[in-house]
């Protein structure tokens, strides 16, 4: 099986392989150009005859469940990331596979975290062939250094759903941690010691996997309601002592930044949204859980309160700051695919207007519409933006893979995409000539807010017109880049070999860019 082969230039001008891990890939055709046809992928047909009539699907251990699922070489194993850095399950799966001498597995997580660094051992010894998902921190470095046997595939949250739904990825076994579950396999994340609020990233996994294992540390009598995982899709249930470490499930990033510079950027972002008429009564927005995004959200909140406006909906991941808005009437609804802190978990459990949604509703290319496109403002991050407004979220300027895409690409479909970023981090410029890795085409990125000025995409003539006469420092993106270079010096480009170590998918499943092995 060839790791990569037959490189071509795609519609974005990036050199990409058309064979990856032995499979045919379609190069990026341009935004909205690729339209898959045919019927969606379907898993094998089960019958109730194969399942216990009393509904008790509990088996004694994860190993037993995996063996009953006929775990074997080359299978694709999926997990969700709702337990974030507190996840204790993914590592166990591959430890068991290793013990069973199973090789060349593909891991399909919805995201990876530092707690998954031990999997490097199983990548090195051949238990795992490659990862399709996100590779953060040491896993990213491992990938960039060309040490992964197979080729990494990076997808957005929506792209993962798309790939599962159109059959690009076939999940053999989905292993889904559930903070509470019953013996039938119904599960939710509202209760239990590892409660994480929602399980929005597990929907495609349990609907489309051949086999589904629910793992819980809070097994309750049937029925487990509400059911965020539907037991009718589940093969086996496993009770373990702990599925996660609660202190690490609650993300460490859900605090408003204390940095005066980041606060300044956030304040400028909120002021921009106000002056551009984006932030108004009845509007909708999404901001991530990073310190700057939360600060933007906090400024939004103050503006809504001051003007006695009410947003119609906020799009999660949710945090205590979003919950405050819901509870004081600044927003009607939170639509939420992941909860970042305990306040958010409490809110989704107790407040009917804090609603559990999934990637299917928000981001999926094969859905009949996406919530992301209906959202007025999204606030996103980036490691690099180039002077054509193209964005990179996966590699750093040194060329090493350090982050996943998350919902970033999907959110670019919102009505206005705003990226608040420092002009440089320490000495590393964020605005560059050309992004190291193309994750999002510049035509979909509307505004860059830095501490030294705000650049509006020339395509957004409406925004440029609205901001005429504003006291905010509206500047050409090339001027901002020149200022960054004047302060930091012009950086040298990262040096790559010609070896492909990964690909970055666009939301429609085509290959938008290539991850290259970095030189030693």
């Amino acid at each position: 099986m060839k790791k990569f082969d037959k490189l071509v230039l795609n519609a974005a001008g990036r050199l990409v392989p058309t064979i990856v891990n032995g499979k045919q890939e379609i190069p990026f055709q341009g935004i909205g150009k690729h339209r898959p046809s045919g019927r969606k992928y379907a898993p094998t047909i089960p019958t109730v005859l194969d399942y216990p009539e009393d509904g008790n699907k509990v088996v004694s251990s994860l190993q037993e469940a995996l063996e009953l699922c006929d775990l074997k070489d080359g299978m694709t194993i999926s997990t969700h990331h709702h337990l974030r850095d507190g996840d204790l399950i993914a590592n166990q799966i591959f430890e068991i596979a290793n013990n069973l001498n199973v090789k060349d597995l593909v891991w399909l997580p919805s995201a990876s975290f530092p707690c998954h660094d031990p999997l490097i051992h199983y990548l090195e010894n051949g238990t795992i062939n490659h990862i399709e998902g996100s590779m953060n921190g040491p896993l990213g470095r491992f990938t960039s250094e060309g040490k992964m046997k197979g080729c990494a595939v990076l997808r957005s949250h929506g792209g993962r759903f798309q790939a599962i739904q159109d059959g690009e990825v076939h999940i053999d076994i989905a292993i889904l941690a559930a903070p509470t579950a019953d013996p039938f396999g119904n599960g939710n994340a509202l209760y239990g010691p590892s409660a994480c609020g929602v399980l929005g990233y597990s929907l495609a996994d349990y609907m489309y996997a051949d086999r589904v294992i629910v793992v819980t540390d809070n097994l309750i009598a049937f029925p487990c309601m509400p059911m965020q995982i539907e037991g009718n899709y589940v093969d086996f249930v496993v009770k373990v002592d702990k599925i996660g470490l609660p202190e690490k499930i609650v993300s460490g990033t859900t605090q408003i930044t204390k940095s005066p510079d980041r606060l300044l950027i956030a304040e400028m972002t909120a002021q921009f949204c106000l002056e551009a008429g984006l932030l108004k009564d009845g509007c909708s927005f999404q901001a991530g859980a990073g310190g700057t995004s939360l600060a933007v959200e906090d400024y939004f909140h103050k503006i809504l309160l001051k003007n006695r406006w009410k947003a119609r909906f906020c799009f999660g991941g949710s945090t205590e700051y979003m919950v405050k808005m819901l509870e004081d009437g600044s927003v009607d609804y939170i639509l939420d695919a992941q909860a970042f802190d305990l306040e958010a978990v409490r809110s989704i459990r107790d407040n009917a207007n804090h609603c559990d949604v999934s990637v299917f509703h928000a981001y999926n290319f094969h859905s009949k519409g996406n919530y992301a496109g209906m959202t007025d403002i999204v606030i996103l991050g980036a490691t690099e933006i180039d002077t054509n407004f193209n964005g990179n979220v996966v590699t750093h300027s040194d060329g090493k893979l350090l982050h996943g895409i998350g919902g970033w690409q999907n959110c670019l479909h919102a009505k206005c995409t705003i990226i608040p970023v420092p002009l440089f981090r320490d000495r590393i410029p964020v605005i560059v000539d050309e992004v190291t890795t193309l994750c999002g085409p510049g035509s979909m990125i509307d505004v860059i807010v830095t501490e030294r000025g705000i650049a509006i995409n020339p395509l957004r003539k409406d925004l440029i017109e609205k901001m005429t006469g504003s006291k905010l420092p509206i500047r050409d993106i090339n001027d901002l880049k020149e200022e960054a270079d004047a302060i930091c010096g012009k950086p040298t480009k990262p040096r790559f070999t010609k070896e492909v170590v990964g690909i970055v998918k666009w939301v429609d499943g085509t290959v938008i860019d290539t991850l290259w092995k970095v030189e030693d």
């Binding site: 005066p260 510079d261 320490d426």
Partner: protein
């Protein structure tokens, strides 16, 4: 083995700085070892810069270790030069180019607004580069209390380079030197490098002002400098308070006088409170002395950076007492202070009426003006003009307010 010297900072929490160790060596040539978080982007540039500086100081053989956490070029240069000057005696200076906004040295207006002045520790480059973006009226690079005694040497080079290379985005360029007499040496590192104002801490006598001005005079002659450097003595002791009048009038280039309440309360042996009633007398003395000498009275910093409500209260009290500005130790304090010191709507409306009435009277050739039943004399008109200027500068009033009447 030769003498080994080190300058700069490194460690887990240090960013945008570098730590340089140099050892003059018997082995021919330069051995430069670089550890840097930006090595793939700037490794070659850092090595080239290091060689340039080492060559500038005619060092042929040395072992140099640089541990870099993303320092900007002016910081790297300061750290290397500071280390070199612990090894060799030389008058040479490796000076970064002036920032493009600073090609022409300018004296700031004597009576420009100094509502907020932001203290930045003189040895912390991470906080320096963006200070001006928060739009304080002045940025103080602090060589005194914010710098540990063993870091005073290297901080001077960093402050010097920052004065030359960093964009202050229109903020007045200030440096707090060390207490006299040690602070006199600091002047050599700042006067030729476009400093606008020097803060003299723990000032107690007119003699200290005289010593500062003598040193500035010598440096100015040596470097052919023509621009004026303003002084702002800080009163921080009982002795200083009792001498405020003499200090305020000690030199023509004193434009403002500040009070430092942390040291003053320590000197008095009392606790500093948010309400600051314990220093009411001292603060009033400073205000009186300043007003009598025609200079700006500036209040102390407010040290609780988390309590913006208390800061606002404190700033409003300062304004009511006659102070025209305050110090800030965190950028988020600037906006609160500006809002507190900005003229209130009623003040602006009153000032507008006074100015219009005065201008109307002048156009009729009338010397004495009345507004309602009150006579308007020149000091009232001057204050009204000042209120209008401040309101325009602080976005409380459109500069074309006459047309909008």
């Amino acid at each position: 083995m030769g003498k080994i010297v080190s300058c700069g900072n490194h460690g887990e929490r240090i960013r945008s700085d570098c730590h340089v160790t140099i050892e003059l060596s018997d082995v021919k040539g330069l051995d430069i070892q670089l550890k840097s978080k930006v090595k793939s982007l700037y490794g070659d540039a850092i090595i080239a810069q290091t060689k340039e500086i080492i060559n500038f100081f005619d060092i042929q053989n040395a072992k140099i270790q640089i541990n870099d956490t993303g320092a900007l070029p002016y910081v790297i240069a300061a750290r290397i030069e500071a280390a070199i000057k612990l090894l060799i005696e030389t008058d040479k200076e490796f000076l970064p180019d002036f920032h493009s906004d600073l090609k022409t040295p300018e004296t700031t207006p004597r009576d420009r607004h100094r509502v907020s002045r932001l203290y930045i520790p003189g040895n912390s480059p991470g906080l320096l580069i963006n200070a001006g973006l928060h739009h304080p009226d002045g940025i103080i690079l602090d060589l005194e209390d914010a710098v540990a005694p063993d870091k005073k040497h290297e901080a001077r080079f960093l402050v010097r380079n920052a004065l030359r290379a960093v964009n202050f985005y229109g903020a007045e360029r200030m440096v707090r030197i060390n207490q006299i007499p040690a602070g006199l040496q600091d002047l050599d590192f700042i006067i030729p490098h476009h400093v606008n104002l020097v803060l003299i801490p723990k000032c107690e006598t007119a003699e200290q002002i005289k010593q500062v001005n003598e040193r500035i005079g010598i440096i100015s002659i040596k470097h052919n400098l023509t621009q004026k450097v303003w002084l702002m003595p800080i009163i921080e002791s009982a002795n200083g308070v009792m001498n405020v009048e003499v200090i305020a009038g000690a030199a023509h280039n004193i434009v403002a006088m500040a009070i430092g309440l942390e040291d003053l309360t320590a000197d008095l042996g009392i606790q500093r409170t948010h309400e600051a009633t314990e220093t009411f007398f001292a603060r009033s003395m400073v205000v009186m002395a300043c007003k009598a000498s025609g200079i700006q009275p500036i209040d102390s910093v407010f040290s609780d950076i988390a309590d913006m409500e208390a800061l606002k209260e404190n700033a409003l009290n300062s304004k009511a007492l006659g102070f025209v500005g305050m110090g800030c130790i965190h950028p988020r304090q600037i906006k609160v202070i500006h809002e507190a010191f900005a003229p209130a709507i009623e003040e602006i409306e009153k000032a507008k009426k006074i100015v219009i009435a005065f201008e109307y009277a002048q156009s009729l050739g009338i010397g004495v003006v009345a507004l309602g039943t009150k006579m308007i004399d020149p000091p009232v008109v001057k204050r009204a003009h000042h209120t209008i200027e401040l309101a325009i500068e602080m976005d409380r009033l459109d500069k074309n307010w006459r047309e909008l009447q």
